[in-house]
Symmetry: C3
Subunit: 289 residues, 3 copies
């Protein structure tokens, strides 16, 4: 796979993780070119067996993504389109691709992310923000419009109706610590811990079998969207799929043979906030290839 | 519009915000008269183009609303009514009116709010509480009944099943900081910050176009209630509506012409915790009239 | 009722609360025997009018429940079962029993709980954890499988999609304070406060009428699972049931006669973090018998 043709970001692959650094000066304004590159990237990564996790950050220390280019919105039709029965909006389609694809996406936000940029990463599997530096907002209402890339839908699903109303109707800025309190992001961490945690987490996830990750993600998506019993039936089915994988049997046997299921071993705790040892299954995976 | 006929609260309108101060000594007990006044207020405000936001507080420093008058409950029928197919309960109907109406409602809670009073504000768009002073509870179970104004429904939707069970089955008091941690309220703030933030937020929201606010609120409500793709389709449709408004086009052009979309301007952050300058769009809106 | 035949836990009944202490050395590994005892316990307690609340803790200071015995998983079929239309998985069935039964369940977690053990208590009505000691994780992905006892379904419903993805795809440990921040548990408390709060809460809940508790729990379950108007209709119906109970009328009258509905009495606050007086309704209940 080649990741050299992107104009607005750089890609570096390491141990199953694609590190994508957005770089569109002067402030990473989101425009159709960037959206098309995000679409191409998703497609490329879905076809790349060497990548299981994508981590996005920004080359600009102050801006992750400013927001969608307003000059692209001001020229939109003066007459609203009727209600559609399928998602025709390109932004919606690409955001949904990231939410549902069998690869894991993580945003590492060290600066300002607003509007369409914030909506893009809301479709990711995880968002981490730098304490004291990252800022999140949906400022659309200030110019009379509303978030159009899923913000009015994904925010209430994460933080509840009343906090979503505050974000969407206020349109003001939420620093990382409030974003963490509200659940707009997973966690706010100091700069050193942020890098350590995100890298440890990304490499750890990438050490898990690709098929297992795809099954696990699918089950969590069922968990948020289906009625409780339907969701449990889906998990029951997917659990059966995961446990039947030869790679799972190999890992479970390796775990048992290495006395993993012992009080001594199980007493070890790992919150991913310290340097990690090499995953013991990495060796196994080499053999499987 | 006249706001002089209410017996149980005072209303003051300023810059698009209706400040409603509940005043029903000795402890703002919720009764049918107060509920009827809340209904009349909702109707009046929905017809008043000068009001976009309602902020409720209390004249009593210790009680926001005590709870629903138990002497009105003890006389209810000894035989339960069969299950109905529509909301016949007056309290449910009025609470749903506040949740769904195209005006924005904010509760500023500086004292105790329990039972039906807490349920009333759960239907609002936002709740802010005074740190160290505001207290929230659903004490109904203590006298053998359950919250009947939406509490058993709205609380789990905001804070999840297990925290809702604690609130509803325990019936005890939750101070502002725990209410914030759980997501029962938006935020707990010290007295000075509470007033500053709520006023800044209310005036800011009221500076946004009325039609845009109605569309944004509708989209967030879809976001909490519809399946994901249906919800995104609704947002797609409503986004088209908002972007087609002449007032939105005017604001977007004004934003672009004023170099709003520049790194320098976008680097400014506003968390609404300091004195605000006059909104630049206020002038524009005067012209639109 | 006899609670003497359980091999893997001890049961002590006091004032309507069953205190269940799990004791399966060397680390409370979850296996089919323990699951069967959980099933028997649920059945016994559902038939025991003297028990309204169950509090689980562990005899092992370091482990609440380690996780499900991997040696029981490694022997599962190499071919996955097709999708079923009913819950056939024993673990799912028992967890659902705890979630839906008309008794209240509380987990008091003072050590490590992972995998199937964590999933078991996710089905409870409340989870409290010891600050600095309790640890929560779904480590299944590490051996290629996924949580199969409801974890992929219940976690996103409590903490949202992105935090659930972090827990399920990372598989690492979450200490009590992060579990509280995320909403994986109700609250993290220091050891002394944990015991005080859980006991106060359990005894308080057990002082409420059994029928009222069953109705309240049913209404909250409707609140998480049904569309908003259907849920409010269910609450409207259940509220009518609760208010019509003779025991509710008796409590409301006792409350009114004792001047409970007075500013002085209502100003008292109770966050259950201090020693409790005997519940005034306990006497009433004795008379009702």
């Amino acid at each position: 796979m080649s990741y050299d043709n992107f104009k607005l970001f750089k890609v570096r692959i390491e141990r199953g993780v694609a590190f994508v650094t957005i770089d569109n000066p002067p402030m990473n304004l989101l425009n159709m070119q960037m959206i098309m590159e995000f679409a191409t990237l998703a497609q490329t990564i879905q076809n790349d067996d060497n990548v299981r996790v994508i981590v996005f950050n920004s080359a600009d220390p102050d801006f992750f993504i400013a927001h969608f280019d307003v000059s692209g919105l001001v020229v939109m039709p003066d007459e609203a389109a009727p209600k559609k029965s399928s998602l025709e909006n390109t932004v919606h389609m690409i955001n949904e691709t990231y939410r549902t694809m069998p690869k894991v996406s993580i945003a590492k936000v060290e600066g300002i992310v607003r509007g369409g940029g914030f909506e893009f990463i809301q479709s990711f599997d995880m968002i981490f923000g730098e304490l004291g530096k990252a800022v999140f907002a949906q400022p659309e209402i200030g110019v009379g419009i509303i978030p159009g890339g899923g913000g009015t839908i994904r925010i209430p699903r994460s933080v509840g109706r009343r906090r979503a109303m505050e974000v969407v109707l206020g349109g003001h800025d939420f620093p990382a610590e409030i974003a963490e309190l509200y659940g707009l992001i997973n966690r706010a961490l100091t700069p050193d811990k942020l890098t350590l945690y995100v890298e440890n987490l990304a490499y750890r996830i990438a050490s898990h079998p690709a098929e297992s990750l795809a099954i696990a993600k699918k089950s969590v998506l069922a968990g948020v969207e289906l009625p409780i019993v339907d969701a449990l039936l889906e998990e029951q089915y997917l659990f059966g799929q995961a446990v039947a994988l030869p790679s799972s049997k190999a890992r479970m046997n390796m775990f048992l043979n290495a006395e993993g299921q012992s009080r001594e071993m199980e007493a070890n705790q790992n919150t991913l906030l310290e340097e990690q040892e090499v995953n013991p299954f990495a060796m196994l995976e080499e053999k499987e290839k």
